[in-house]
Symmetry: C2
Subunit: 291 residues, 2 copies
Amino acid sequence: MKRIAIIGLGLMGGSLGLALKAVGGYRVLGYARKPQVAARARERGAIDAACPDLAASAQADIIVVATPTLAVAEVFRGLGPYLAPGRIVTDMASTKEQVGRWAEELLPEGVDFVGGHPMAGKETAGLESAEASLFRGCTYCLVPSPRARPQAIAAVVELVERLEARPLFLGAARHDYLAAGVSHLPFLLAAALMTAAAADPAWDQLAQLAATGFRSATRLASGDPKMNGDICQTNQAYILHWLDRYMEELKDYRRLVAEAGIEEALARAQKLRGQWLEQRWGQSGPGGDHD
Amino acid sequence: MKRIAIIGLGLMGGSLGLALKAVGGYRVLGYARKPQVAARARERGAIDAACPDLAASAQADIIVVATPTLAVAEVFRGLGPYLAPGRIVTDMASTKEQVGRWAEELLPEGVDFVGGHPMAGKETAGLESAEASLFRGCTYCLVPSPRARPQAIAAVVELVERLEARPLFLGAARHDYLAAGVSHLPFLLAAALMTAAAADPAWDQLAQLAATGFRSATRLASGDPKMNGDICQTNQAYILHWLDRYMEELKDYRRLVAEAGIEEALARAQKLRGQWLEQRWGQSGPGGDHD
């Protein structure tokens, strides 16, 4: 039975543990910086046993680093001396170029690094929000190090498939560009809407009128600021690119509103989203898409 | 038993009919430009009877115009000649200054106009999406004409309270300013995200990576383009103000990302949204706020 060690037992690591325990076939070990988190993970059935330290985690066959992005470097540094050749290391961070550089620099030779990023999440953080079904049906990006052995890559693919997620191989830069557009830009837009509205002198009344539309438009503003701040630091260039691209689009929209000609753009957006929903989720139209 | 005529039997008019029929106490008449829509509304139990024309609708005690915004003017023009003094007219359009001017211009003297705007909706349009509970708990903005008699205003407040909605009196300009910020700006932001992402050469891959975050960030892009286009035409100045304000906020965010100092703004946004959820919906944290 393969031993998996999950380092970091928040939303992502906790959900991974719950999912693996549900499908079986792995012995699931867990490590969290705060011992009480690992204890709670064990109580919730997300792990079989807690590791006392990083050195113990390093004895597993596959080590999954599920911390916020900037902490991945520290964990790699802490694990490095204890990792025997043939160990497989993967992560769940949202940006892959920086994490790949840390792996290159901090993990010993003979260890196989296969970067990972499941395109799934919730705006609420922590073990309490973890769910066994979080990754079911999601696109799970895989960015293997150029030196990773085929059998190590296959072992991570097997893990992903056990989660009922769909592996998608990408280069690190390509991944970061794509994630900036559909994941990182949206949380910045949501936060900016929240702070812009709340900074208005009429916020008391705005807050009364704001309804389900504002609620979904700002949902991602409830995301973990530390986690999202780390993402912005490690994917800065692509995020700035997308912010610039988006501001250009908004300028076009502004012009169209001023010219009373926005309806066509709105119709295009509606159609594009319907197609995406249909293709991505196999559903569209009434009932398929609430708040 | 008071007679209510609902003109326009889409999402808003249909939901109003279903809600009034559920609580009882009104005879609910309906008119739709396409007779088959009125027939379906009757089948669904949203109205007691269909009016053959606008003239027949004008015989009701309270006439509710529930069409897209630009069509309100046509309906007022068509109703005008048939409205006896003492009739009460209200509407459900998202912008109130322009509708108030049309009421002033097109409705006969002695008719009481009390503009209305329930802060509730869905991104899917049409009678098929209508729900009896759509307005329950929502803020229902009321903008009475300066000449509306107190008993007419009281009759509309009674109607709103029957829907279990919360009446909020506002001036027309104030309403339009507030609605532009929390309702109209958000649908433009969602549409711009959708079209900007889909215009990227990598859209095929972006679409695979886009997950629940992108889904909620673009939800409002599925709104009816005609309805939202009308809103942009009749609330242009305030929408342009909010677009400009939002672009300033995004420029600040861009600078903070470039300086690796965005975390504080993200933390502020998270906190503000938590407070708003708590105050507005009486809930926050895990489980309370999905996609």
